[in-house]
């Protein structure tokens, strides 16, 4: 996978929990172009172990001088966001992948409704730049817990004007998805990024109101959940590895020297899918990619976020 070597040109504390990083290429060259909704995967060397986290690009796609990412500090997780907050400063160097877009705007859309919860605002920042450039009709709905958690509100007000609708939970403002999704004109597309209960509630409401799946777009990057350690036999590679509790299977394979395919590392894209040849216990599917039927059949697993609780697990890799 192609890697870009970047340097941190600026760090801004946006809210208590959110930091915004400006990245430029170490060699001074412009960065590759991207489309609104794209993300990059940032590699971090934390105490000798490589962590890779996906972050949405939030700058304008027209700006190739620098990339912009924002990171919310997650205390009870595996340390990637804490490392970004405490260990990365102006001048730090990082490795990132080329941008990939799993959350692109539909070119067929007549109207676009963007719905963000908390840090889920980030992919919309670049999408809004695209929508403004194209002159498309859109509404931006941004929900957050309280005024001090409303990252980028001023910037959004400048970008969106009266297309911006803020929903501040501490002031009793919640998005009524049923009202939002009712009576929208044909050709409307809806995009949601935020906490899982919010995304699920919106998807369910859209389904109940007869919206076709082709018009409903969501993105959720999951952090690989922490679990119990387990052992995996990798049949094609002819090796057996231990997956520690705080490491994903994908990371454990990479530690062992393998280079499995991946794109999002958050259970969304399906690129790292591996065939399960044998499992004497339970697969714990944590991804959004496999259908319920595929999860139940137990023939495939997404090693970026899913785990297993078993004595014996054979993967065809």
């Amino acid at each position: 996978m192609s890697i870009l070597n970047v340097k941190v040109a600026d760090v801004e504390q946006v809210t208590d929990m959110v930091k915004h990083f400006t990245l430029v290429q170490e060699n001074g060259q412009p960065l590759p172009r991207f489309s609104g909704g794209s993300h990059v995967v940032v590699s971090m060397n934390i105490n000798g172990r490589i962590h890779r986290n996906p972050y949405s690009l939030m700058g304008s796609p027209e700006n190739t001088d620098s990339y912009h990412i924002s990171v919310r500090r997650q205390e009870n997780s595996r340390g990637g966001s804490v490392f970004m907050h405490d260990g990365v400063e102006v001048g730090s160097t990082l490795q990132i992948t080329y941008p990939v877009n799993l959350f692109s705007l539909s070119k067929l859309g007549k109207k676009h409704i963007l719905v963000a919860g908390g840090i889920g605002i980030t992919p919309f920042m670049s999408q809004i730049a695209d929508l403004n450039r194209l002159g498309d009709d859109y509404e931006m709905h941004y929900a957050f817990r309280s005024a001090e958690h409303g990252a980028f509100v001023e910037q959004l007000q400048q970008m969106c004007g009266d297309r911006l609708h803020l929903h501040i939970e501490s002031e009793g403002q919640r998005i009524n998805f049923h009202n939002l999704l009712s009576n929208q004109p044909l050709g409307t597309h809806i995009y949601v990024c935020g906490p899982e209960p919010m995304v699920n509630a919106l998807l369910l409401t859209a389904k109940d109101l007869g919206w076709p799946k082709t018009h409903v777009h969501s993105e959720q990057f999951l952090a690989p959940p922490i679990g119990d350690s387990f052992r995996v036999q990798l049949v094609k590679s002819n090796m057996e590895i231990e997956v520690p509790g705080d490491m994903s299977m994908l990371e454990a394979m990479e530690e062992a020297g393998l280079e499995p395919d991946f794109l999002c590392r958050g259970g969304a894209c399906g690129r790292c899918e591996v065939e399960v040849l044998e499992c004497d216990g339970a697969l714990m599917h944590n991804d959004h990619y496999l259908s319920d039927a595929e999860k139940a059949s137990g023939n495939k697993i997404m090693p970026c976020v899913s785990r297993a609780r078993c004595q014996k697990l054979l993967l065809n890799i």
Binding site: L181, Q184, T214
Partner: protein, 200 residues
């Protein structure tokens, strides 16, 4: 027509089935597509509002206006031509909202005319239920003079505009709503294969 051969661009058609959940249903049929509407109304009714647009077409072997007027107690518009149906549809689409489900039945040429209207309103072709009725006749696009000839029944036919003998391929353009027709005797003028009725 070739047998046992699959090509990505060639559309597949199904039987109309009410789609739920929904906020409304809009059914559009022409000519022999009327029978698909009758089959639809034999299924359990959805509770949401239903509109039916039907066009009597002179090319159809059978027309269903009378029986539809008895069966469809909901909002039913009978149009006397495809053109008036399409104009009517265009108006109705302006009032439709997300959550409306669309159903279309008739000949291939008719359905893709309807789909051009729904697409222009922002509805994706895959989200419209489609049932092919009455005939396998194909609309064919002449790649030489850019004319579409409707209701082609034969493997090779003379283009309605330029007169070239065109071979009907399975490649289908959703944008044009037609199959590709290419000159069959371009390399050896006059060498035209046996003409057969393959799309009755």
């Amino acid at each position: 027509m070739q047998r046992g051969y699959w090509i990505r661009s060639k559309p597949l058609y199904d039987s109309l089935v009410w789609q739920t959940p929904a906020v409304a249903h809009l059914v559009v049929a022409g000519g022999e597509g009327g029978i698909a509407v009758l089959k639809l109304f034999q299924q359990m009714y959805p509770k949401e509002p239903i509109q039916v647009l039907y066009a009597d077409l002179p090319t159809a072997k059978k027309n269903y206006s009378d029986i539809l007027q008895q069966i469809v107690l909901e909002e039913l518009d009978i149009c006397d031509s495809e053109e008036s149906l399409l104009a009517n549809l265009e108006q109705r689409l302006k009032d439709c909202t997300m959550g409306t489900h669309f159903y279309v039945a008739g000949s291939e040429a008719f359905m893709w005319q309807v789909l051009q209207k729904t697409r222009a309103a922002g509805v994706q072709d895959v989200d419209v239920q489609k049932e092919l009725c009455g005939t396998l006749a194909r609309p064919v696009y002449c790649v030489h003079c850019k004319t579409i000839t409707r209701d082609v029944h034969h493997n090779v036919f003379p283009c309605s505009n330029c007169g070239r003998h065109l071979f009907v391929r399975d490649h289908f353009s959703r944008r044009l709503g037609a199959y590709m027709g290419v000159m069959v005797d371009a390399e050896e003028p006059g060498n035209i294969p046996q003409i057969e009725e393959v799309y009755p």
